[in-house]
């Protein structure tokens, strides 16, 4: 299997910008709309990599994760067949993609969800799905 290189970071997914957009979206319906828009900006994982091997179990929707250590920085692809989940994965991506192993280990994703007012809205199964993904990323570095 060929490896994938790190895709360029779209400006919309730059963490500070993204934080602002999600914080600005008031109410769950607007947050969901924003997540669907973010999903469009997140590069898709090529079909060839959307295999059972790369699936994260325990999520309601199907979620794929591909990681690679590229010169001390983590290369990260996340994808889902659900747009809303993919929007949340955009947040994961902006928080972790291209970071060093130390940064990956130290980033507090739960705190980010809290800050953006998302933890209040997300169901516990969705939260546990997200933390399964974060754990998988942290195991990869």
């Amino acid at each position: 299997m060929t490896t994938l290189s790190i895709p360029a970071l779209p400006a919309s997914l730059e963490l500070t910008a993204l934080r602002q957009r999600l914080a600005d979206a008031q109410g769950w319906e607007n947050k969901n709309r924003t997540l669907v828009q973010l999903a469009r900006d997140l590069p898709s994982l090529p079909e060839a990599f959307r295999t059972e091997d790369h699936r994260i179990q325990g999520c309601e929707a199907r979620v794929w994760l591909y990681t690679d250590d590229q010169n001390g920085q983590i290369a990260l692809w996340v994808d889902s067949d659900s747009r809303v989940v993919k929007g949340l994965l955009a947040l994961v991506w902006s928080a972790y993609a291209g970071r060093s192993a130390d940064e990956v280990r130290n980033f507090d994703f739960a705190a980010l969800l809290q800050e953006l007012g998302l933890s209040r809205f997300l169901s516990s199964s969705r939260v546990s799905g997200l933390s399964a993904i974060v754990r998988a990323i942290q195991r990869a570095v």
Partner: protein, 404 residues
Amino acid sequence: MSVWSAAQPRACFPLLTQQSELIWLDSAATTQKPLAVLDAERAFYEQINANVHRGAHRLGHAATEAFEAARSSVAHFINSPSRQQVVFTRGATEAINLVAHSWGGSQLQAGDEILISMLEHHADIVPWQMLAARTGAMVKPIPLTDALELDLDALAAMLSPRTRLVCVTAMSNVLGTRPPLSRIIAMAHAVGARVLVDAAQALAHDVIDVQALDADFLVFSAHKVFGPTGIGALWARMELLEAMPPWQGGGEMIARVSFDGTTYAPPPLRFEAGTPAFAQAVGFAAALNWLQQQDRSAIAAHETALYQQLAAGIAHIDGVHILGAPHDKGPIASLAFATAHPYDVAQFLDNADIAVRVGNHCAEPLMQALQQHGTLRVSIAAYNSAHDITRLLAVLAETLELLA
């Protein structure tokens, strides 16, 4: 036939009146409860509460009478020849497990066959798989036609003297399909097989008459018929119950106990080990009584009209269709999407206060047959209105545009 207006029944349901914006289209998962049910259970706790079948005091007698009267209400609702044929369980699932362990465990052996419709809920599959693993009996799925009806020709070909049991739902919880029960039962009886009917979904919509059906076993859950959680029932032919060994042991189900040997009570108590869910039995009876006081054929016509409104509306929205078009079906629709993920759709419906269910609906084999990862299920009950469907269709169309 009189016309049913959903405004009046909705007013009977405290949750629906308190959350006036809520559109509950997830009744196949669990129904909301009319005030009459909540009041009956509460009144029981506040006025009668005592353990049953053992009272040496007036509350004990009153509790026993209320519990046994609840059994009579259930028996009456399904036209059971006697109330002794109604065994209270936690729900449809436990009822099927009871049949599998007691009847199946004592009657089936290696080589025997259990035919299970491809429409079944896991509750009507997994207990039989577990029984098969214990006894060496074989479980065989009855396939579907392209219209997603049970394939009766295939069933005819599968039935043989080895067939001991046919398991079939009275209404599919995913598609709404109503298999032709009377025909299936006659076909099974012709080879000497027994038939278990899963009436969990049908009971809230259809008039079920165990004698007219000529069924052998029938199961259901109160919480899907406007009743409380924690209770349901097994109905069975008396001669089957009488021959069945107990499954769970404990108080209530025994005649005599000693360390030298124990003898068991006759049915139904033989199958009700331990303190039963007696307060819930009272609530269950209140639910059935509430339903019986309504004009049931008007409700059925109302539900059918809503279903037709839904089907007509879906036909006008791009990127979504209803799975299957069986000849006879209840007010349940599974929606499949061209590109949208059902979870995303449900998420936006939820934002608009419309509750539906997504997933495999505890019917993975059916999902595999349908080649679906999951569907979005809309299930209609007596308290839904044309407004509910109109609003669902509008939000659905908008959501699919957003997700396109």
